[in-house]
């Protein structure tokens, strides 16, 4: 029977599989997902098992597939996910798969390798192109400068003319460059170490850039042979990362003591780094220097900064020719690159169609071999032996699956499934569906139930949302929660298909049915509390009316309606709290009395329910002793003290009325709590209130209470001692019986004197056993003492703990009222057309706070309190929760977890 009330009956089975058929059989079992295999070689390490090689091959295949997937994702090709579930392929197909993947991987790697080489080539050529183009500008500049210099001697105003002569291109590339350089030079001049300051002062009248350049290039030359014409300078050109330029420049300056001249210009378009595929910004530079010593130094620095140097011909014609050659080569490369990319794309598109399918296949194969590794090899090497836990009602379908597997493999010998006897505790298997699974998860989070123990989940399905709703009772907030959950349930399939890593969303989505029920119950309790966003609904019209006349109302600010007059119609509001209380200033006093009482009423009933469930456990496990020695005293204790208090509450509601004569008039109504405390303290000399005859509600109450308390107190030693004493007696009896048998067997029927002698002997002969028993007994006493104390103290503290129902409900109602009066009311009060705008803004604020704080945060807090009430107050009465859960070998689970971790 697939019910949730108790976990499934399990049995340990031994499975004999023909070696050839094992693979197919395990594959069928994996599809079925109802068998949990045990590891039969726990001492063998993972590398020494039988099917290590196969597992390794699967790993290798998986790696290749992951590589393929990565490449596919890189190109943004959509992977076809048909949701189909291919069967695990036969072992011989594995070779085909391997070959396919191998081929694909090699092809892809080759294509990638080629593409990278091509790209590197392309990059080099592009850089060279840029160098040729930019350096051209530098060289042009030098030529012009010579002209310019001579021109400037005569007419400084011709500078502008020159700039226009350079054309727009020149202005942008060359002109700005020189200006920039000029600025840079100025900063260098301010450098205290700069040797430049000297020439600047000497030739102070010149344009700063001009003087600088001259100072740098021809400093030496001028000093040595003034007027001898330009000196032959060496130069290197190259490309460097743009961010390295400043340090590069500084390094050059320091290493060469300012004797080199660096010009640089940025390459506008970003270039692609072939190895990583990132876009990087680079600059072209050219360094002029003199002499070989400086040349080696400069080259070393360039190497250090990872600048790539390119040959640059010295004459303009060579340069032009080279540029032409480079351009044609770039064009050729471009076409080749395009073809390579096309090829890669084709390969990937073809692979993308199958990659999900392949993943499933490979993972299934791997799972099968992992499982086969858990099996034992028979001595004859002809068959594999497995041990597995199996749900008893499913044995038929498992045998069917095994038969299918044998047929598929073509083996003639059928597999054998033997049930085994074992003393081990079987795993707990609760069969859940999509509705109950979330509730089962709540219970399992506390502890997986012991095997065949009463499962609290079915009861939790209703009590959990209900207790939550007692705290969260608000029609409006409940409705918001309800529609959110209803939307999740409505869109279940598309939402479930959209797997995300968002943990918070996954939690909400997983618990959508819990939230749905919580919303429903909150609406109901909200109706009873008559509370919707802190306002009441007046559906049946209030049963209180105002009978004061106008003058009284005008004169007295606060008026209290009197229930004993016609202010109160005589019968209560039919459904929920009368709406008049929402407007009353003594609302909290009134509601507190009500809410505290219902908290205790439902709390005590919840606990009684829990104790009652323990009865079902005791009968199921055939432990009548637990019924007499634990269940009965427990339930008597709880009923006679706390359920009696609940009855008093109902009595108080019925007996004391507003129009009743003296002994039951409102003034004489006793406090239930005080009555209860006095009962426990055995205090009966309490004076009645003024005018009342007695503190009791009914005749004989004092006697009844004394009796109840007495019985409840007797229950404590009953719980404490009865069970250990019973067990002790039983053991003694068994002992005597054993020894008697022993004696008879030994002495062949000798009785009387011999009996006594032998009885003495027996007590000596096995010295270890009685001690052990004594120890066990002592342990049992301690255990029972702890159990009893826990229960007795627990009943008190747990009853008090249920008051959280009242506290949270009060807090929730108050918070929502505060939000209404402090926020929304201010918006409602403003009248003019501006008021509409204000209300719009205020409403938005109110709505955000309502959802964020009242529904989300308060909901979370109420949820946690409810969880505690179930885990501690309810489950402690019957639930041990020391089992371990059934983890079947199932492809479904394996694939789900594999794809989950794969996407992370």
């Amino acid at each position: 029977m697939g019910s949730l009330f108790r976990s499934e009956e399990m049995t340990l089975c031994q499975l004999f599989l023909q070696t050839e058929a094992a693979y197919a059989c395990v594959s069928e079992l994996g599809e079925l997902g109802l068998v949990q295999f045990r590891d039969l070689n726990p001492d063998v390490n993972a590398f020494q098992r039988k099917f290590v090689n196969e597992v390794r091959r699967c790993d290798e295949m998986e790696r290749k597939l992951r590589y393929l997937e990565k490449e596919i994702k890189k190109d943004g090709i959509p992977m076809l996910n048909t949701g189909e579930n291919p069967e695990a392929p036969q072992p011989r197909e594995m070779i085909d798969l391997e070959a396919t993947f191998e081929k694909l991987e090699n092809e892809l790697r080759e294509v990638n390798h080629n593409a990278e080489a091509l790209k590197r080539n392309f990059l080099e050529l592009t850089e060279l192109k840029h160098i040729l183009r930019k350096t051209q500008v530098f060289f042009d500049e030098v030529d012009q400068r010579e002209m310019y210099q001579s021109a400037q001697m005569t007419d400084p105003s011709r500078e502008e003319e020159h700039v226009t002569l350079l054309g727009e291109e020149g202005l942008r590339a060359g002109g700005q460059q020189s200006l920039k350089l000029g600025r840079k030079m100025e900063t260098f001049c301010k450098h205290p170490l700069g040797t430049l300051q000297l020439p600047l002062h000497q030739e102070g009248g010149f344009h700063p850039t001009e003087s600088m350049t001259r100072a740098l290039i021809t400093d030496d030359a001028i000093a040595r042979q003034p007027g001898a014409g330009p000196v032959q300078l060496g130069f290197v050109a190259g490309v460097i990362l743009r961010e390295r330029i400043p340090s590069f420049e500084r390094m050059l300056w320091r290493a060469c003591r300012g004797n080199v001249f660096l010009r640089q210009t940025e390459i506008e378009s970003a270039l692609e780094d072939p190895s990583t595929g990132d876009k990087v910004l680079k600059s072209v530079f050219i360094i002029f220097f003199q002499g070989d010593q400086l040349k080696t130094r400069v080259k070393k620095i360039c190497e250090g900064f990872r600048a790539t140097l390119y040959p640059c011909p010295e004459t303009p014609t060579d340069r032009r020719e080279m540029a032409m050659g480079v351009m044609t080569r770039i064009e050729d490369l471009n076409t080749v690159l395009g073809q390579t990319q096309d090829h890669r794309h084709r390969v990937l598109v073809a692979a993308a169609k199958n990659v999900k399918n392949w993943f499933i296949k490979v993972r299934k194969i791997k799972a099968i071999y992992h499982t086969l590794n858990l099996f034992n090899l028979d001595v004859t090497q002809k068959c594999l032996i497995a041990e597995c836990w199996v749900p008893l009602p499913e044995i038929e379908s498992i045998q069917l699956a095994l038969r299918r597997g044998t047929e598929r493999s073509g083996s003639s010998v059928p597999p054998i499934l033997n049930r085994m006897e074992t003393f081990e505790a079987p795993p707990t298997y609760n069969r859940t569906n999509k509705f109950t699974v979330a509730f089962q998860a709540l219970v399992d989070a506390y502890g997986v139930s012991s095997y065949r123990e009463v499962n609290p989940t079915p009861y939790t399905i209703i009590t959990f949302p209900f207790l939550f709703a007692v705290m969260f009772g608000d029609l409006g907030h409940g409705f918001l929660m309800f529609i959110f959950a209803a939307w999740m349930v409505w869109k279940e399939k598309p939402l479930a298909a959209k797997k995300t890593d968002n943990e918070i969303w996954n939690i909400f989505f997983g618990g959508r049915y819990i939230v749905l029920l919580m919303g429903c119950f909150s609406m109901y309790t909200g109706l009873i509390y008559n509370d919707a966003f802190s306002k009441s609904l007046n559906i049946f019209s209030s049963h209180w009316r105002v009978n004061y006349n106008v003058t009284t109302i005008q004169e007295v600010a606060d008026l209290q309606l009197n229930p004993s007059t016609s202010d109160y119609i005589g019968s209560p509001y039919p459904f929920g709290i009368d709406p008049v209380w929402q407007l009353a200033s003594n609302k909290i006093v009134y509601l507190n009395a009500f809410k505290m009482k219902i908290s205790i009423i439902f709390g005590v009933l919840h606990m009684l329910f829990g104790v009652a469930l323990s009865y079902s456990n005791h009968t199921y496990f055939k432990k009548p002793i637990n019924i007499y020695c634990e269940f009965i005293p427990q339930i008597v204790f709880l009923t006679f003290l706390f359920f009696y208090m609940v009855l008093l509450m109902f009595l108080k509601w019925m007996i004391y009325g507003p129009t009743n004569p003296l002994p039951t008039s409102p003034a004489c109504a006793p406090s239930i709590l005080i009555t209860f405390i006095n009962m426990v303290l055995f205090k009966y000399n309490v004076l009645p209130l003024d005018g009342c005859e007695t503190v009791f509600m009914f005749g004989g109450q004092a006697f009844l209470q004394k009796f109840l308390l007495l019985v409840a107190v007797i229950c404590i030693p009953w719980m404490l001692l009865a069970k250990p004493i019973q067990i002790m007696k039983k053991q003694k009896k068994r002992h005597e019986l054993l020894s008697n048998n022993h004696v008879i067997g030994e002495n062949g029927g000798a009785e009387g004197v011999g009996h006594m002698v032998n009885a003495n002997n027996i007590s000596h002969s096995p010295p270890a056993k009685p001690e052990e028993e004594e120890e066990e007994l002592g342990e049992m006493f301690i255990h029972q003492a702890i159990h009893t104390i826990e229960y007795v103290l627990g009943s008190v503290s747990h009853t008090a703990s249920y008051l959280r129902l009242w506290a949270l409900s009060l807090a929730h109602a108050q918070l929502s009222e505060v939000l209404w009066t402090m926020v929304l009311q201010t918006g409602l009060k403003s009248e003019s057309s501006v008021g509409g705008v204000i209300l719009w803004a205020v409403f938005a604020f109110w709505a955000v706070l309502t959802i964020g704080i009242l529904v989300f945060m308060e909901g979370l807090s109420a949820f946690l309190h409810t969880l505690r009430l179930h885990w501690v107050e309810f489950q402690s009465k019957f639930y041990s929760g020391i089992g371990y859960s059934f983890t079947p070998f199932s492809f479904e689970i394996i694939l789900a977890t594999a794809s989950g971790t794969g996407e992370d």
Partner: protein
């Protein structure tokens, strides 16, 4: 003072149908037991919750304390004419 029959009968009847009658007519299936339990528990808790609320108001020991402006508004909105 006390209860009026109609609302008690109606509400009790409604939850009685949900908690006692409906579980008998559920379709057979693997989840029948759970559904029965769900219906019965729902009916029991919801009915008891309503009952507590009803009984708590049956014999009011105190009356609502109202501000006079509230009283006037109540009179206007709820049609409770005030004698002069």
């Amino acid at each position: 003072m006390g209860a009026s029959l109609l609302p008690v009968l109606l509400v009790t009847g409604f939850w009685g149908v949900v908690g006692v009658v409906l579980p008998c007519y559920l379709p057979k299936g693997p989840n029948r037991g759970i559904l029965q339990l769900i219906l019965m528990l729902t009916a029991a808790t919801c009915w008891l919750f309503w009952l507590c609320c009803y009984m708590a108001q049956m014999n009011p020991l105190i009356g609502p304390k109202l501000h006079n402006t509230t009283i006037l508004l109540m009179a206007k909105a709820w049609g409770n004419a005030i004698s002069t």
